[in-house]
Symmetry: C2
Amino acid sequence: MEDSVAIQILDAANRLFAERGYDGTSLQVIAEAVGIRKPSLLYHYTSKAVLRDAVLARLMDHWAEVLPQILSAATTGENRFEALVAEVIAFFDADPSRARLLYREILDRPNELSLRLGGFLAPWIALLADYIRRGQGTGLIRAGVDPEVYISNVIQMVIGGVATAHVFYAMGDDSAVERQVLEVTRIARTALFVNDYLEGNHG
Amino acid sequence: MEDSVAIQILDAANRLFAERGYDGTSLQVIAEAVGIRKPSLLYHYTSKAVLRDAVLARLMDHWAEVLPQILSAATTGENRFEALVAEVIAFFDADPSRARLLYREILDRPNELSLRLGGFLAPWIALLADYIRRGQGTGLIRAGVDPEVYISNVIQMVIGGVATAHVFYAMGDDSAVERQVLEVTRIARTALFVNDYLEGNHG
DNA sequence: CCTACCGATCGGTAGG
DNA sequence: CCTACCGATCGGTAGG
């Protein structure tokens, strides 16, 4: 590893920004988490704003790399829709700070995020929307579906569900995550397809 | 109006906390927005934390008053489900800062919000969950629905949709709000009821 | 409701 | 990667 300290800083900033927010996190506490002094941190990232952008850029790069894998993997087999939803939830659930960081950026800098996110997310949304419209043509998918709005709402359930997990199912229930995955998948599938082709699974 | 300045402070704090977050908003800028000096603000609210709690308390009181009205009004007539979803969206859409403030609190202080919110929201969620379970008994509602998890996901779509409106449909489309209302209602209804009893409406 | 002021902490720089 | 330090701003207080 050629520059491990810079990555440690990035990791700490990622976690702390997600937990306490950008304004609620001082460079001092990030430096402490890494075990260095504040000026040393500022050698690697010349300002707090630069550090924020680096954290966000790495998150976006990660998604840009993983998303195509998830989507193409989910295109194989019959249960591709279940697989897609489950994998996206798993991705965020593996590290909830991803979802929280995203939500904080949406609230703090909607314009900046819209630009960055729209850049690489738009093609995938267009792809999925096309798939929906084709399904509407063949009668597989409900005519009433508003493709883009439908997609944004499923994303909303997935990411929002992870980001707010503490509040909505703070029951300490170990099966909470599994129930959330099952229900989001069920809602998304039932609202999309004409035939509840797998309803027997959830009777 | 007996103490208009205290309310002006509350309004300004509400708006600024929602826009910039608690840590991103200084008492100075709140005081400026009201047209007074910082020490005068601290006469009405003895600390920043007290002001935050007052803002949150007023929001909760507002919901505690309006929510029963929406729910009981929506219990009248056949299309009560559509009415319920539409009214809740309308409530948040009338002032999106309500949704953003809620989301910031979820991220900043999940435990505190969970306690406050759970206190008065739990009975309503239990009521709706009971309604769902009864509907499952009579065959009106899909057997696969996980009542509490379903409800939290619909809330997620409604509030998240309002809070993140800028990012997801920043197309400047005037019909965006209407499309969002229609699609969330459609998703929620289709995923809940066995019969798509109004599908003819959506072409 | 104000002026004046407090110690603490902020992001960031100088200089090595 | 550090010590030492900067001006600006923070939440909050004294005192009227």
